[in-house]
Amino acid sequence: MHTRAPGRTHKRFARRQDGASIALIAICAVVLIISAFGIFQYYSVTGGSRQLRNAVDAAVLNVSKRVCEVRVPADKEYLDCAGQSKQVGLGNINRIWGKALLINANQEAMMKEGSATGQSSGAADTAFSIANNMNTTLYSSLTNASTLDNFFQQLAAYRGASLLGADTPISKSQPTGVRVAMVNRGQGANLSYRPTQFPKGITIPGVKQGSTEYLAGYVPVAANNRQFCFTPFPPNEMPHLISDTIFDQNTVEAKPIQASATPLPNAFRSLGEATGLRGTLTASACAVANPQRQYAIAIPHAFINIQMDNVSKWYVEGKLVKTIPYQFEPKKLLGVDGLPLKNGGVVHGYAWVGKEYSPSATIWQILNAVPGDRTEPLNRMIQRIQEIQPNFSLQQLQGLLRSQTQTGQISKYVIFPVYQDETNSNPQIQIQPINGNLPAWLTPQVIAEGSQMIVAQEPKQVDSPNYAWAMEPGVKKRAELSGKYMWKPGTGFGQSLGELQLSRTTEIFFDSEGP
C-alpha cells in the first residue's frame, strides 16, 4: 500500500490547475489557426477550380470564334463566292457548296428534260469536284491541332488560376488537344434559298425559320446523283458554350455524317490544365462556332442571253427560192425577181416584213409583237435569274426588258448582276447589248452548255401584219408570220445560265392561180 504525503498531493494538483486555462486557450488557438488555414486551402482549391473552368470556357469559346478565320485559297471558279479575301473559310463554305448545288441541280433538270450534253455533265462534275477539294483542304486546316491549340492558348494566356498559386498559367491538356464535333444537325445553314430558285422537278430539303428557308446542315442534300453537305450555323446565334453531353453525342464517331467524308466541324472541345502550388486541376469546355454571316444561295457571276432574229423565206410554187434576214422595223423587200411560175408566167414578188415592230421598240415590245403565250420562256428566264438574285420577279423582268430599247442591228442582249462591293451580295440585275458596258468579270463569248429546245411557239399570223404582193396578176400570194422561242440551258459553271432565242420567220408564198 502506497501512501503519499497530503502536502505533496496538493502541490501536484495545484500545478495542473495552474496550466489548465493556458493549455485550453492554446488548443483553441491552434484549432482556430488550423481552421483558418483549412478554409483558405479549401477556398484556394475551389476558387482555383472555378477560375480554371472560367478560363477554359473562355479559351474554348475563343477557339470557336477564331476558327472562322481559318481559310484556304478559293479556286478561280468560285472566286465570286469567296468575297474580298478570295479565300474560303467556315463563314462562306456554304456559299461555295450552294453554287455547286445550283450547278448540279441545273444539270439534273437538263438531264430530265433531255437538254443535257457532255459539256454540261462535265461542268457539273468539275463544279462538284472543285468544291469538294476546297472542302477537304479546309477540313484539314480546321482540324489542325496546332492551329486550334494556338487559338486556345491565345486567350488562355490572359487568364490564370491565381488561387492555385501565383501566376498559375492555363495550358491545353496534353495529349487530347482540341476535339471536334458536328452539332445542330438538321438545323439551318447560313445559306437561305427560295424553292423557285431551283429548276422544275428539283426539291431541296430545308429548314424554315420565320419566312426564310435555309438549307439544312449535315443533312444529305442530293442533286445530280451527288450528296451535298452544308454546315449548320443557325441565324441570330453567336458562338457559345454547349454541354459536354451534346458534344459527345455529335462527334463523327458517335454519329457519322452520311453526306460527306470530310464534314466541316462546327463545335470544338478542349481540356485545360492548371498546375499550381496546390496541385494540378483540369477542366473541359465545348463551344459551337457561328460566323454570324448570312448569305442567299446564288451563282454570283452568271448571266443569261436573249437573242432575237428575223428572217423572211420566199417560196415560189412551194419551193424555197430565197432567204432574207430583216431587222426590227418595217421594210419592203423584193424577194422574187422574175422567177417562172407553173402556168408559164413570171412573178416579181414583194412583201412588207417587220411590220410587227414599231420603231425604237423595247425588248419587251419585240417579244410581245406577235400574239402568243410566253409564260414558259419567261419562267425559265426568271428561274435562272433567281439563281443570281433570289428575289427577282416577273414584274422586275418586265421592267428590265421594257427599259432596254433595241438599237441598230444589235440582236443579242445580256442580263447580268451588278454588285456594290466584293461580297457579291444583293445584286442589281441589269440588261445591256452584247457590245455594251459589261462588268469586267463577264465573258459574253461563253455559251450555255445544254442543247437548244423549243419552249414556246407563236401561232401563225397570215397576211397580217406582214403581207406580200406580186406585180403580175393571177399570182396567189400569202405571208405567214410565226415565231418560236428556243431555250439553251446552261449550268452556270462557265457563267452562262442559259440563252433564250426568239426566231421569227415570215414565209412568203407565190403560186400560180387556178388549175
Binding site: 486555462s21 472555378r50 477560375q51 473562355a58 473559310g89 486567350l155 453567336m238 458562338p239
Partner: protein, 139 residues
C-alpha cells in the same frame, strides 16, 4: 491560521485563472475575428470574380466599345448590396476588336464584419477576359 491560509490560496487560484483566461482571450479573439474577416474577404472576392465574369461575357456579345461598356455596366447594375459586399464598380472595359478580346475590371467595396483599426472598407479588384463573340467573322 489554517482557515485563512486556505482562503488566500483559493483567491489566488481564481485570480490566476482570470489572468490566464484574459490573456488567452487576447490571443484567441483576434484570431477568431481574423478568421471571420478572412471568410468575408474570400466570399467577397468570389462574388467579385463572378460579377466580373458576367459583366465581361455581356460585354463580349457587343460590337463596339461603347455598347460593351454599357452592357457591362447594365450587368453590374443588377448587383444587390449585401452586408459584406457593399458595392461593385466597373473600373475598366478594354474592347479590342483587333485582338478579338474584351477585358473587364471590376472593383468590389467590401465592408469587413470586424472593422480593422485605421483600415476602412477594402476594395477588391478583379479582371476577366473573354473573346468578342458579338462581331461577325470577317468576310
Amino acid at each position: 491560521m489554517p482557515c485563512n491560509k486556505s482562503k488566500y490560496a483559493i483567491r489566488s487560484r481564481r485570480g490566476l485563472t482570470l489572468v490566464e483566461a484574459t490573456s488567452g482571450f487576447i490571443v484567441i479573439i483576434p484570431i477568431a475575428l481574423g478568421v471571420i474577416d478572412l471568410v468575408a474577404l474570400i466570399s467577397a472576392n468570389e462574388i467579385n470574380e463572378q460579377w466580373a465574369e458576367m459583366a465581361c461575357r455581356a460585354a463580349a456579345t457587343r460590337q463596339s466599345a461603347n455598347t460593351a461598356q454599357k452592357a457591362a455596366q447594365n450587368c453590374l447594375d443588377d448587383f444587390e448590396p449585401q452586408s459584406v459586399a457593399k458595392q461593385i464598380n466597373l473600373v475598366q472595359v478594354q474592347f479590342d476588336p483587333a485582338k478579338g478580346q474584351v477585358s473587364v475590371v471590376t472593383e468590389m467595396v467590401t465592408k469587413m464584419p470586424v472593422p480593422i483599426p485605421f483600415v476602412g472598407d477594402i476594395n477588391l479588384k478583379t479582371a476577366s477576359t473573354q473573346p468578342i463573340v458579338g462581331i461577325p467573322a470577317p468576310e
